[in-house]
Amino acid sequence: MDMPTPNASIIARKAQIVALLQQVLPGGAVIHEPHETVAYECDALTAYRCPPLCAVLPTSTEEVAAVLRICHQQGVPVVPRGSGTSLAGGALPTADCVILGVARMNDVLETDYDNRFIRVQSGRTNLSVTGAVEEDGFFYAPDPSSQLACAIAGNIAMNSGGAHCLKYGVTTNNLLGVTMVLMDGTVVEIGGAYLDSGGLDLLGVICGSEGQLGVVTEATLRILRKPEGARPVLIGFDNNEVAGECVSDIIKAGVLPVAIEFMDRPCIRATEAFAHAGYPDCEALLIVEVEGSEAEIAEQLGVICDIARRHNPVELRESQSAEQSAAIWLGRKSAFGAMGQINDYMCLDGTIPVSALPLVLRRIGEMSKEYGLDVGNVFHAGDGNMHPLILYDANKPGDLEKCEAFGADILRLCVEVGGCLTGEHGVGIEKRDLMVDQYDPVDLEVQLRVKDVFDPNWLLNPAKVFPLASSESRRAA
């Protein structure tokens, strides 16, 4: 994975830049000693590391603006960072960059149940947003699996999803407004506690822009009343194709489950060995969850189970209690940990049309043999977002490269069948060079022009999202 050559003149000016930043920030908010900057050398894509020039931890929009003004004047690249849980390398530093971390900005600014929104500083973690309102019966819907740690800032940057987005949508569908600082220090308010913004939908393009258009410091988020209850059913099949048909039939029947999760045999076996969830040993397993009152749940599960029975499941287990629900979810929630017990793994994030599922799983199986690397599939089946987990040995020379090549082939397959490279993790550096497989040069050029408007000097997170060759002339300017 290539990164641009760091700018030597910036590195030579480190002491001066640090001093300038210290003038506008509280004591201890500029981290510049090498033994400290190492803490910011990577995010959750740990295969790639590089300590930054320094890291700053501002506490307010004004401080963020002051930092950006200095970096803008000095021509120093800035890499925004939420909690550093990106699996795509979205927060990977370069040696000549300032990491702008929002971790100290985690206040709740306003909670309004009558109007059903919460306004928070962007460093607040996803789960603690729900934590601030759940005693009053409300929640914030997007629930990425890193929700205990990940920050709203990162959720907005990557337009994060989660297991429940079939019903509730992803971050962009739950974001009402932001306070954002542009690279030159200008503070803009986009959207607010009302539903439609006038003019162009800038909020829509900011969400998912991977920290390349501005630094979001505050966010207004939609909150919802918690459902009365939720219960899953577990359905096992001896055939992937039939499992896919079952998903399609459930959707066509007019039921809208809150989640439809899919696991394939390698994944079922690994999680069973690890978590002993009591899963059947079968080819494909679905977990379908519905919400509502007890009677509503029973009605929806009745429809789903009728459909499932028509497809001759090898197992059909309707949860009757909170304990049984927890047991059904146990294996799914342990899937990543279980695969990690076996070996190092790389987690992919492509999306495919649901109808292409059997074909894609068959091709992944064939490629697994060709590459000699095992792979398990966990899949948000309702929305086509798949997470193949490729197992490799980080200590074995060449294994990481082989794994990356295999991963790239899977993502190209996702694009080939009508899907995309990433459903919820983002492009970062991980899928940067695959963008040409999804987009023609003109498609990318239009996106580059959007960045030109927000960040004309290309200083914000410049080496991400776009293939380096396509952004080179702009970054060099």
Partner: protein
């Protein structure tokens, strides 16, 4: 009038244009602001190109009549979740709304509070930008964060960033049964309090409107579930007044709210005001004398006022924006169709327009 029959012809039409283009789908939202330039119709770009009911996905060319999309979906018991308004009712226009026009104006109805706006259902676009380049973004899958989300940006851009050639949607199942829960005899503040209470419940309200003293709440779903939620809402709202549940005429009631039908045939200018729902009562106080319809829990205020009056000044200090939907062309020109934006935001919008349409030929003046 230019009427390209495919994307390549559309691209050539834009590339070869030597002056402003006025882009038209079904032409049902006119007369709006000043129309100038050569008319460019998308009617030749028609037809549904992909529909997979089991994947909740539909893709259609931009000029496809909305009615064709809705009929096709209904045959599989599905629908566009965002319930687009039919502007012909309010504006007295003729013609057939197109799916591209719906996207270009981000047209959404009462269900927007539950299922999101048009932009939330939109998952892919193809368009021709002001340079004549054919551009795609998003696609046919409902979870996609690959690159910048230009899909959202194109929704509601009124043709000023590009001419849409194809649009893709996430669709939803149609619901079997619907009911309207009504609380009567309420002033605006109490009416909106009822809507807020219901929307803050777990009973999945899919429409929340107030008009003539009546707070109206729509619930949709399977029969037993609708009956259950109606009963629970009756209990929840009993302290506000007598609560009734209507199961007859529900579709028409919400279609009329969606289309702001109460203003059809009146002499009023009609404005569309987007505010925090709780500010609805303040809006009503400031606009005393105006004819008002509240949707979206109070957050969308339709206001009928005497022609030629700018009501934005009267709303100063209330966060949100007011858009002129129905007025004489002179009034659009004099008052501006869209709410003025703060300088920083306006600069970004202008910058995007200059990049997407450097010659300024796509619907110039349409968004101010």
């Amino acid at each position: 009038m230019l009427k390209p029959m495919d994307e390549a012809e559309l691209s050539a039409a834009v590339r070869d244009a030597d002056g402003p283009l006025w882009i038209e789908g079904g032409g049902t939202r006119g007369p709006g602001p000043m129309t100038n330039g050569t008319r460019l119709s998308t009617a030749g770009l028609s037809g549904i190109t992909l529909y997979e009911p089991g994947a909740l996905t539909l893709v259609a060319r931009a000029g496809t009549p909305l009615a064709e999309v809705e009929t096709t979906l209904a045959a599989e018991n599905q629908r566009l979740a965002f319930e687009p308004m039919d502007h012909r009712v309010l504006l007295g226009t003729k013609g057939e709304p197109t799916i591209g026009g719906v996207v270009a104006a981000n047209v959404s109805g009462p269900r927007r509070i539950q299922a999101g706006a048009c932009r939330d259902s939109l998952i892919g676009v193809r368009f021709v930008d002001g340079r004549g380049d054919i551009v795609k973004n998003g696609g046919r899958v409902m979870k996609n964060v690959t690159g910048y989300d230009l899909v959202k940006l194109m929704a509601g851009s009124f043709g000023t960033l590009g001419v849409l050639s194809e649009v893709g949607f996430k669709v939803l199942p149609k619901t079997a049964v619907q009911a309207t829960v009504v609380v009567g005899g309420l002033d605006v503040a109490a009416g909106i309090a009822v809507l807020s209470r219901a929307l803050g419940s777990s009973f999945e309200v899919s429409g929340a409107a107030y008009r003539d003293g009546r707070a109206m709440l729509r619930i949709e779903g399977f029969a037993n579930s609708v009956a259950y939620r109606a009963e629970r809402l009756q209990g929840l709202l009993a302290s506000f007044g007598a609560v009734t549940v209507n199961t007859e005429g529900v579709v028409q009631t919400w279609r009329d709210i969606c289309n702001a039908a109460v203003f059809a045939g009146t002499d009023h200018d009609v404005w569309r005001i987007s505010v925090k729902p709780g500010d609805g009562a303040a809006v009503a106080a400031r606009l005393a004398g105006a004819d008002l319809l509240f949707d979206w829990g109070g957050g969308l205020v339709w206001a009928g006022v005497a022609p030629g009056n700018d009501l934005r000044g009267r709303l100063a200090g209330i966060a949100g924006h007011a858009t002129l939907v129905r007025a004489a062309r002179d009034t659009h020109a004099a008052l501006g169709t869209f709410h003025p934006e703060p300088a920083g935001v306006a600069a970004l919008s202008a910058g995007l327009r200059a990049q997407f349409d450097p010659r300024g030929i796509l619907n110039p003046g349409r968004m101010g």
